[in-house]
Subunit: 781 residues, 2 copies
């Protein structure tokens, strides 16, 4: 039990730096750099096969630095946002300006690519399809710009067709790993989806034929008086729309009015095509997605262990003749320090003690390989510090009224009282704010909220509130978290309200924008109530946890939307117009006489158009939501050509049938993992170690109230303020439910199915030799 002592006699920074000079002069700085890169790559699942020459390693370090990455994404964003300024533009800019910016972007991408080419061996570079993709995209864009510029100069009509390629950059940059994986999952699921889709289309076609035969000859009329179900293609489209339920029950009504027997036809149709086939689509997408993702994650894990074995090979030394190669603690410390510069020494000691569980001062390969996973487990170091007021003026802070106040604030009733205040506030918000009494009540509520914050600051350690770490990582207790969220909201609301009333009283002018912000802030305050109910917190925490992974889908959606928006803008721009002035007679038919009397114009959908990129995106969202998509697509088909409907049907198949189903599959899977998976082995080991070292913070107490728990422990020690040396002033807690990377979540998703003997495979030299760190690919099954 020497570990707790160690964690108290923490070596200071200089001591850490001395370590390499201590026992192992054989390892050069380059070696450590290389090992650190391997470990870091393993930790973040980077699969880049870089050159191991010192120069390339230095370039590779630079390549992985956050600044160039952020710059790259910034320029991709700029490149994508150019659509706002290009014809058809939200804010028109001359085309030379946008093209200049685009050239700059292309330059940045080229530099990044050249940098990448310098990092990895030449043959690997040319074998990697994503590099080829980027080069092709850059070339095509350049060609397009030249052609467009020439056409413009000659006053001809030109199309910037290369704009559809822009979002593909997001997919093909080195950092778009998750996005590529999502696309690969889709691609792999496509054959199966395709067969189900064919069968589904066959069913639609057969039903359409039946509908034509059954209903076409009866002389029925639709509500507009047009003949009902007489053209086969029209029927196919109508029934396809019925699958999406968007024209239910309207499409059925004429037949149903004729006889209720026909309703059976439509009910059967909906049962088979909407309920059963759509469930089958979800099942097929889900199943394939899971299957391929599992395979990819398995390969990821293998690659990770592979990299750790390489790092081990760099650091290993023979402790005794003929013995197993090991890594000494000093070397290990050095590498961990390089991989995670900000790690606290106590935390590092803890990790070491988990690896070196037999306390030998050196670890073998198996223990070393764990390091990447260990670094991914977030351990929070909690320092129990006395309240500053307690240090400043102990007599006052420890006095009976002060202690009573602390008790009160920490009591459950305090929370309940404030929840009630919020509910009353909610009612007041709902009431008419023109009433001066109610307008003034806002000040009272703001005062109450401020009082709450001040009270909490008085009782709790202020630094616990504001530490970046626990805020962003959602690991602190819910109460502190919500308090912090609340503080931001309350202070913003206070500022906004003051600004608003100053403007009101000074000029009599009320800014609508500021008022809106005030209202939104007021309403957001209400969210706090949810947090004080434990069951809700659980659900919300799950949602927050799967949040980062959902962002990958956000990117996926943006890629698809962007491509469809670009194509849509070329096809449909200015065909439908929106007039700001509602009295304009052209507004009745959206500025296009072809739309006179159409449902599109009647429903006032004129603003749903492809006239700029923002409108296009909003329209695509509406199409994703599905309802009324047939009215929208028919509208655009009316102003162009019937075949335009293909564009909308394609969008529906791509986004609604495939991507939304993958999204649902992902949410389902993530929820099941949350419900069923327990902590990983390694995490358990780490936790056990923390407990052995008696550094654990009781989980239940933390859940209840972190600072409460601290206080209770202080109280148990009597009234002495400084923690005695027997009680550690440092405590650890595992942020068990938090995944640092999406990969870690995925890995955990399929952890149960991963072959535990996978590591053994990495041992054999053959696997090590082929060293394929490229993104895993599948041979077609």
């Amino acid at each position: 039990m020497s570990e707790p002592e160690k964690s108290e006699n923490i070596p200071d920074e200089s001591a850490v730096k001395e370590i390499p000079n201590g026992g192992n002069p054989a390892k050069s700085k380059e070696d450590f750099d290389l090992a650190a890169i391997y470990v870091s790559d393993a930790q973040y699942n980077r699969n880049i096969y870089f050159d191991t020459s010192p120069q390339a390693v230095r370039l590779y370090l630079l390549y992985n630095h956050w600044l160039p990455k952020v710059l790259l994404y910034f320029f991709i964003l700029v490149d994508l946002c150019l659509a706002l300024f290009e014809e058809p533009a939200v804010l028109p800019l001359p085309s030379w300006a946008t093209m200049l910016v685009e050239l700059l972007c292309l330059l940045v991408f080229t530099i990044r690519l050249v940098h990448y080419a310098k990092v990895i061996p030449r043959d690997k570079f040319w074998k990697d399809p994503k590099n080829i993709c980027i080069i092709v995209i850059l070339m095509l864009t350049l060609v397009d710009m030249i052609i467009y510029g020439a056409l413009k100069a000659a006053d001809c009509y030109g199309v910037r067709w290369s704009r559809v390629l822009r979002p593909l950059l997001l997919v093909n940059v080195t950092e778009g790993r998750q996005l590529r994986r999502a696309f690969r999952s889709i691609r792999n699921a496509l054959p199966q989806i395709f067969y189900v889709f064919l069968l589904f289309m066959f069913s639609v076609l057969i039903f359409s034929l039946m509908a034509l035969k059954l209903l076409g000859k009866r002389g029925l009329k639709t509500i507009d008086g047009t003949p009902y179900f007489t053209s086969y293609l029209e029927i196919v489209f109508d029934l396809y729309v019925l699958v999406t339920t968007a024209n239910s029950p309207d499409v059925m009504m004429p037949a149903y009015n004729a006889s209720f027997v026909f309703a059976i036809f439509f009910i059967l149709y909906i049962l088979i095509n909407t309920y059963i086939f759509m469930s089958v689509f979800l099942a097929v997408v889900y199943n394939n997605y899971k299957k391929y993702l599992k395979e990819e994650v398995r390969q990821l894990v293998r690659a990770k262990r592979h990299k750790m074995v390489r790092a081990f090979a760099v650091l290993q030394e023979q402790k005794e003749e003929g013995g197993e190669p090991v890594v000494t603690q000093a070397n290990w410390n050095q590498v961990v320090h390089l991989v995670r510069p900000g790690i606290s020494n106590a935390h590092r000691e803890l990790l070491w003690s988990v690896c070196d569980d037999k306390n030998q001062g050196a670890i073998g390969k198996v223990a070393f390989v764990q390091l990447a996973d260990l670094l991914n487990i977030e351990v929070i170091t909690i320092k129990s510090r006395p309240h500053p007021l307690n240090s400043l003026c102990p007599a006052l802070y420890q006095s009976a009224p002060s202690r009573l106040l602390c008790r009160m604030v920490q009591h459950r009733a305090f929370v309940i009282v404030y929840d009630l205040i919020i509910l009353v506030n909610a009612v007041f918000i709902g009431l008419d704010e023109e009433n001066p009494m109610i307008a003034n009540s806002e000040w009272a509520f703001l005062a109450l909220y401020l009082l709450e914050i001040l009270l909490k600051l008085y009782v709790f350690e202020p630094r616990a509130f504001f530490s970046r770490h626990s805020f962003w990582n959602c690991v602190s207790t819910a109460q502190i978290q919500s308090t912090r969220f609340d503080t931001i909201i309350v202070v913003s609301a206070l500022v906004a309200t003051i600004v608003n009333s100053t403007m009101k009283s000074s000029g009599g002018y009320t800014s609508r924008q500021i008022l809106d912000i005030v209202f939104i802030l007021r309403v957001l305050r209400l969210i706090r109530v949810v947090d004080s109910i434990k069951r809700f917190r659980t659900i919300i925490n799950t949602l927050i946890r799967i949040g980062p992974a959902i962002l990958t889908f956000g990117q996926l959606i943006i890629v698809v939307y962007y491509i469809f928006a670009m194509v849509g803008m070329e096809l449909f721009k200015d065909k439908v117009k929106f007039f700001e002035d509602p009295s304009d007679p052209a507004q009745l038919y959206c500025g296009n006489p072809l739309l006179k009397g159409s449902a599109f114009a009647q429903l006032n959908y004129c603003k749903n158009n492809f006239n700029n990129v923002v409108s296009s995106f909003i329209l695509l969202v509406e199409l994703t939501v599905v309802n009324q998509w047939h009215v929208l697509s028919r509208g655009f088909a009316t102003v162009t050509h019937m075949s335009a409907i293909i564009f909308f049907v394609l969008f529906h198949i791509m986004v609604v049938i495939i991507i939304i189903n993958i999204f649902v599959a992902f949410v389902l899977e993530a929820f099941f993992v949350e419900y069923s998976v327990d902590k990983g082995d390694l995490q358990t080991a780490l936790e056990r170690r923390i407990e052995e070292l008696e550094l654990a913070v009781a989980q239940e107490k933390l859940e209840d109230n972190l600072v409460n728990a601290m206080e209770t422990m202080d109280n148990e020690l009597g009234t002495s303020q400084a923690a005695t040396p027997n009680v550690p002033s440092l405590m650890f807690k595992i942020a068990s439910k938090r995944y640092r990377t999406v990969d870690a979540l995925l890995q955990r998703m399929f952890e149960a199915d991963l072959d535990p003997e996978d590591f053994a495979e990495n041992d054999d030299p053959e696997a090590q030799g082929n060293g394929n760190f490229a993104n895993p690919t599948f041979s077609s099954a």
Copy 2:
């Protein structure tokens, strides 16, 4: 290897009957009856704790007979169908007539219940909630009928409120096991769903408040010119409807027209509430459903083994002093014969050889317990018989042209040619049938199809076509199956076409109904194409396999629909009227002046009403499909009271959020099982045994073409027609993918997670003693 001989020297019926008199005179007929009942109960998962007195056993046998069961369901159907004739009626009957029929139904239910009471011990009867339920339903119905009769006699207005109880009979009859289980799953999932729902509603309310503050004061107008987003309750309803996407994008348009910034609000709302929350609902429903179902199935399996142990206890005898109790083959045969009277001797021998794998002539408890599962595995006995023409006129049938013809028909090209014919036929169907050329082409197609059937009859063994067994169980090869389906369709089409043209030529009058049938039959013929593509067949087979299980959901839906229809009819009957004559001016406002100018009337939804039970069901289907449900519910709220919307929202929550999600969960789970689960252990054992006995039909050959395979095997034997004694004339094949009962499917679904040591628990006398065969219940978690 004595087994193959046995299966050839099949003991005839009389031999089987002699067996009980053979070695074990100790077992009486009652013992066998009792054991057979236990085995049969275990096989079908009946959990009835019946008296074991011979008299009760005889009654119990009668209780399980198919006739009283069918009668019971018939009378339940009659009872449910009474709604067609009761006020508001589709076909009005005097109330004394319907009440008389209802009394008859009640009598039948009472008799069945009394029968049940005689079968099981008195205390068990009164402890079972489902019996209490039935008694209460019967009493309440009787009371309601008396009150209603009295009110009618006094010319007062009466409500037949007990009608909502009728579908509950479906749930509470002994045979409604699956339905009860589904309801229990829902009930158990409710708490979790409830919390998610609360959170979801909180989110809707918060967004509504924000919408009120942001949009209410801007003086925006909806498309009808009414103020936009000014009443909080209206906003809540509008946003609730937006979650179902039914009013997208209409609800957004006024705000979007004012500024595109507001579109962000709606997109955020849809993302959170439609996509994320609805996925979470599915995840929660799915997870809970799976969890509880697994627990129920676990208990089912335990109960099953329990019953088998009891059967064993009845049959067991000590073979040698102090030895383990065993069941001899003679007794076992007797029981199997009682449980499944139609079993072939060869099949029984096969099952015995699986149980008694060491060939000892007697089996212990562990082997005996398998029997129930073994009986659930469907084994098809295939007899290879020569073609009757071959027997009648071998010279002709074996002649070169005949053999060539057989080859041709069996060739793949034959199928392809006929697929092409069907496609051409499809085009002809799509064309205008008024054209005489096309009308006559139908005869040509019919002739071609008939030719195909005749050719197949010539080539294939006719009995293979028409055997009941393989037809209903979908186990034969796809080609034969499709041929059979085709034969029915073609012959029906032929008959219908002939009837149609006879009527046409004789009276010149064409019956629309017959023409419709002809068209439908023609179109159905096209389905055959799907079957000739293997990938499609796989998908369709999966769908067919999960079909029976989906029927449980059909019952569930009917119960819920019926209750809502009854309530809806009382609330909304005759508020909205449909006029057959479209020129009636009242049709413009559905006969209710309150509806003038409403969307409900404008969209011509008058026939969507609660004026009779058929309309109500169709309306409820439309509400399940969700689209336009807000128009429908607003319509009914307009003609009654705003609070009527609660009825529709409740329906939405019950059916769309809970039941449809459970349906999707079930389909997903069933698909995953189909994709992933391999055959069970027992099935593997059975299959191995079949292979050992060299009685197997090669799976691949069967898949390809059953009769082809037969022929090939004949050919291998040279040209000899009668199978030599060395080659078994009987073959077995396991219908591996077919579940005889829904329970078997469920059991297989969760087989992987079932504790294999569960059997051990049943051995201890305590568990045996408590003998709780009632439906498994859960203590609230």
